[in-house]
């Protein structure tokens, strides 16, 4: 078996040796400068804190309206679920599905998979389905488009403000928090460290 110290850059395939890093340092490919791995805190406290808060933010973002408009005494709320429902009612099922996947399903799956992995790593539980959970996270990660949605909300609010009375909903703040926490989480978590803790026969 080959030493686990070898590392092949996943963007240019350059074969390199792993070097020891001080906490907080990052190792980048010497040819194409892609991030190879980083040295993060040995316990998983930070990652767990970020994941749990992100899950709470996701729940809040789904419970409260994103925006409210008031026209001629009519009050119209829009929660994330309302958006999906409206699109589906207008026969735009694919768009409804897209919104559902990118704003609800993908973040939920990413965070749950992450929580599952972190619990096993933190408390040294027998490691089951690590690969499946990790691959699930890997495949949905690209499709978490919360930040793009947030920008869309802001542009729409600016667009509507001169025409009608618009109120920013609680969900917008929760979405903002979620974006920050998801970024912080992927900054704090190191894939290579996780895999180095998993021995060959337990998966």
């Amino acid at each position: 078996m080959l030493p686990a110290l070898l590392i092949a850059c996943n963007q240019c395939d350059l074969l390199q040796y792993e070097v020891k890093l001080v906490e907080g340092e990052k190792a980048c490919c010497s040819r194409c400068n892609a991030l190879l791995y980083k040295n993060t805190a040995p316990h998983y406290n930070q990652e767990i804190a970020f994941t749990v808060s992100a899950i709470i933010m996701l729940i809040i973002a789904n419970m409260f309206p994103i925006a409210t408009i008031i026209v001629q005494g009519q009050v119209i709320d829009a929660t994330l679920f309302d958006i999906i429902q409206t699109l589906a009612m207008q026969q735009q099922n694919s768009l409804a599905l897209l919104v559902f996947i990118t704003l609800l399903l993908a973040p939920t799956v990413e965070l749950l998979a992450m929580a599952y992995l972190l619990m096993q790593l933190k408390w040294g539980w027998p490691k089951h389905y690590i690969t499946q959970a990790y691959r699930l996270r890997l495949s949905v990660k690209t499709w978490v488009l919360t930040d793009v949605f947030m920008l869309g909300v802001l542009v729409d609010l600016v667009k509507l403000t001169p025409i009608v009375t618009v109120k920013v909903g609680i969900a917008v703040w929760a979405l903002g928090g979620l974006i920050i926490l998801l970024t912080a989480l992927s900054q704090a978590f190191d894939t290579r460290k996780m895999w180095s803790q998993i021995d060959f026969h337990s998966t």
């Binding site: 080959l2 395939d13 194409c32 892609a34 119209i76 768009l95 894939t191």
Partner: protein
Amino acid sequence: MIFTQRNQPPSARSLGLGGCEVCGLVSRLPSANPPLNYLQLCARCHSPLHSRKNKSLSRSWALLVTAYLLYIPANMLPIMDTSSLFNAQRDTIMSGIIYLWQSGSWSLALLVFFASIVTPLFKMITLTFLLLSIQFKNAWHPLQRTKLYRFLHSIGRWSMLDIYMVAILVTLVQVKSLTVIKASPGALAFAAVVVLTMLAVETFDPRLLWDSVLAQNNQLQKKFHIDNEKALKEQHE
């Protein structure tokens, strides 16, 4: 410039090795072009091992061509129908941007213009260029091309902006018997373009950009050897 075995950078593939795409463990991969249905699993995480992403080029091309085809309806068809008591209006992506510009929010108009018009076009053209460069085994600045790929990867998602803007407007502006906004087929085509280009970038394997450099170096090396042998022969004679 002549590369010798010694200063040629060790690509994992050229040494018969490959990193696992899931866990990063480097394993021996007996051949670069495995026979059909040959499957090797990673010793640590049991994921299938590929030296390069499976059928990266053909998949990427297929997705990209479909995106090009859908790009036309995405921009021609209206993405939003606004109907009120007195008039009906259909908005394409471009007319939405013009509306923003005319209402005085230039910065927003520019933002949407970049996200919805510039980004998808730039992405498709650049990806075409990258795919062609691999197809023609071009060894031009692999590092610059890798950086271009990374840039594509990071900007692609922002094109979804227009879709979300429509989705929110559609939900909010539903004043009974006054104004109703509906999403139109153009929105679907546009969303499909964005998803397809994101998938095309996702299936693209940047390591292929470096393979042609390696191949060229090998050729140069071969030529160097042949020239050397010729020179030696000539010396003998």
